[in-house]
Amino acid sequence: MDFDLKPEHRALQKSIREFMQEEVKPLVKQIDRDSRVPDELLKKAGAAGLFGIPFSQKYGGMGAGEIGYCILMEEMGRVDASTTAIIGAHTGIGVMTLYLDGTEELKQRYLPDLCSGKKIAAFALTEANAGSDAASIRMKATREGDSYMLDGEKMWITNGPIADVLSVLAITDASLGARGGATCFAVESNWEGFTAGKREEKMGLHGSPTAALKFDNVRVPQENVIGKVGLGFVTMMKTLDIGRVSLGAATLGGAEVSLESALQWAKARHQFGRNLANMQSLQFMIADMASEIEALRSLVYRTAWLVDNGRPHTKEAGMCKLLGSEIASRCIDRALQIHGALGLTRDGQIERGWRDSRINEIFEGTNEIQRIVIASELFQEIGVRIRP
C-alpha cells in the first residue's frame, strides 16, 4: 500500500498552498467583514487553474482527479471557508452534475468556460419546502415544443447570485413526483425569467453568496437536459454523493489549522507561571484533536482513491462529510477555548473559523441525512432495504 501522494499531487499541493498563503490569506478578514470575495481574487484563482481541478483535460479541466480535488479543498479549507465554498459549490456539485451525466455536446459547450473560471456554476436543488426532503421539490418543468419552461423557486443556493450556469432539478411529470418524474437541467442565469434574490446574511461563510432563486417561466432548450428525462433525482443524488468527499477534505483543512493555532498559542501563552503547553487538560484536548484529524485524513483520501478508481463510495463519502463536519466543529471549538478571550475576538482569527464551521453539519445533506445514507448502505449490504 502506498500512502504517499503521487509526485504530481505533491507538486499540486505545494503550488496551491503557496497561492492560498500569498493571495487569499491576506484577505480573509476583509472577505468576512465585507461579505465579499473580490472578483480579482476569483480571476487569479481561475488563472491558476483552480476552477476545474478534478475534470478531464479533454474538457478544459485540470485532470487531477478526486484526489487532486480533495487536495485543493483541504488547502483552501485551511485558509478561508468562504472562498472554499464558492469554488467548492461550483466545482464539486455545480459543474460535477454536468460532468457526470451531461451529454458530450453539453459538456463541450459548458465545461471549458466553467473549468477556466470564466463562468461560475451553482447547484440548485433545495426549495423552501424541500431541504432534507429533497424529493418533495415542487419546481415545474413543462414541455413546450423543443424546450421546457421552468417555473418555481429555489432557496439557499450557494453561488446563486453569481452563477452563470446552474444545474437545476425540476418536476417534469407531477404524477410520478421527484422519483421518476424529475429532470435535471443546465440553466443560464442570463436567460429571461431568472432572478437571484438578495444575498442571505449568514452566521458564517460571509463571503459565500447564498440566495433564493426565482425561475419565472424560463425557457430551457431540450439539449440542456442533464442525464435522462425523469431520472434527474438520481443525477442529483449521484452528484451530491461525490461532493461529500471534497467537503470532508475542506473540513479536514479547517480542523488542521485549528490544531496548529492551538499548538502555537499553547506554546506562547503563560499563566500561573507555566506554559499552557504544560497543562494536562490542554494536552488532552490537543491529543484528541490530532487523533481525529489523522483518522479523518485517512478516511478522506482513501475515499477519494475509491472515486478515482471507479469503486463504490456512497457509504464512505457520507462518512467523510459526517465525520469531517463534526470533527472540524469540535476542533475549532477546542481551539477557541484554548485561545480564551482572544478566541472570541474578530482580530484573533479563531472566531471566524468557529462561525464558518457550523454550516458544515447542515448543508450538502444534513448530518442526519448522512447517517441515514450510511445506515441504508450498511443494511443494503445485508439485504435489507430501508426507506428514510
Binding site: P26, Q264, W265, A268, R269, H270, L342, T345, D347, G348
Partner: protein, 331 residues
Amino acid sequence: MNYLDDFHSAPEPRDIWVVVELGADGKATPLSLELVGGARMMADGLGCYVHAVALGTDLGDSVAELIAAGADRVHVAQDPNLAHADARCKVLGDVLAAQPPEVLLFGATRSADDVAPRIAQRLGAGLLAHCISLQMDESERVLIGTMPVYEGDYFEVRACTSRPGIATVEPNAFGPPYLDSYRFGETETVAVDLADLNRVRVVGPVAYAAPQAPLRKAKRIVSAGRQAGDFECVKQLAHLLGAQVAGAREALDEGWITEEQVVGAMGETVQPDLYIAVGIRGDTYHAFGIRNAKYVVAIHPEKDAPILKSADAALVGDPPKIMSELIEALR
C-alpha cells in the same frame, strides 16, 4: 590547480593582491585599508609581497596610507571608463593575467559583486564570497573563509584550493590595519586597454519603485508602542534602516498605524532579521507576533517592561531621545 598533491614540492608563493576602492571623499575606503592590513599579515606568513590595485581616479594621499597599511606596491589605473564594472573587469584581468597572484582580495562591495566572479572565472580560480572571516592555512597553502548562507541563518566554512585563491571580504573580518608610516613602497601606473570590450551602456538614473514586500515578509521592522513618544522619529529611524513601519495594537488606537500594520496575535505575525520595538511594553499578544523575529531590539522607559527580558538588546530610557541618538549613530 590543486597542488595539495605535490605538497612537498609546493612552489614559491606568488604575491597577495588587494583591489582597493575609493570612497566618496576620494580616499581609500576603511575596508580597503583593512584588507591591505590583512594581506600584510598573510604575506608576512608566506614570505611574499602585497600589491594594492586601484582602478578609477587618482588616489593622491591614499597611496601613502595604503603603503603604511602594508602595501609594497600600489598600482593605479586612471580612466573615466573605469567608472564602469566591465572596464574594471577587463583592466584588472589583464593586470592579473600578466602578474598572477597567490591570493586576490576584494572588499565585499557591490563593485566586487560585478568584478570578482568574472576575474575568478577568467583565472580559473575559486572564490570565497562575503567572508566574515578569512585566513590562510600556511601548511596547506589554502584560503579558509567563513561566509553566511541562508541569509545568515548559519555559516559555512570553505577552503579555496586554487591558485590564486580569491575572496571578497566583509568589514571587521581582519580588524583595523596597523599603520606604519615608515614603511616604504612603490607606485606603478597601469595601462588601460579597452579595445574589443563588449560594453554595457549605462543610460542613466531612473526613478523606480521596487515592489515592497508585505509586512509579514519584511526583513526589517521598526514598531511603535504606546510609549514611543514621537512617531515621526519612528518613521525616520525606519527610513534610515530601510525598514518597514509597524506597531503594537495600541499604536492603532493612537492613530499612528493602520490595521494592516499591527503586529501581534490580533494582527500580523512577522519574521524580520531585525525588529526594533519602540515604547512597546511587550505583553503576550505582541510577543506572539514577533516569536519568529531573528533579532529584537527593545527601547522602553520602564525597566520592568516584559519585553526587555526577552529582547536580544534593550535600551532603557526616553524613546524619542534614544531614537535620535540611534539615528545619529547610524548616519
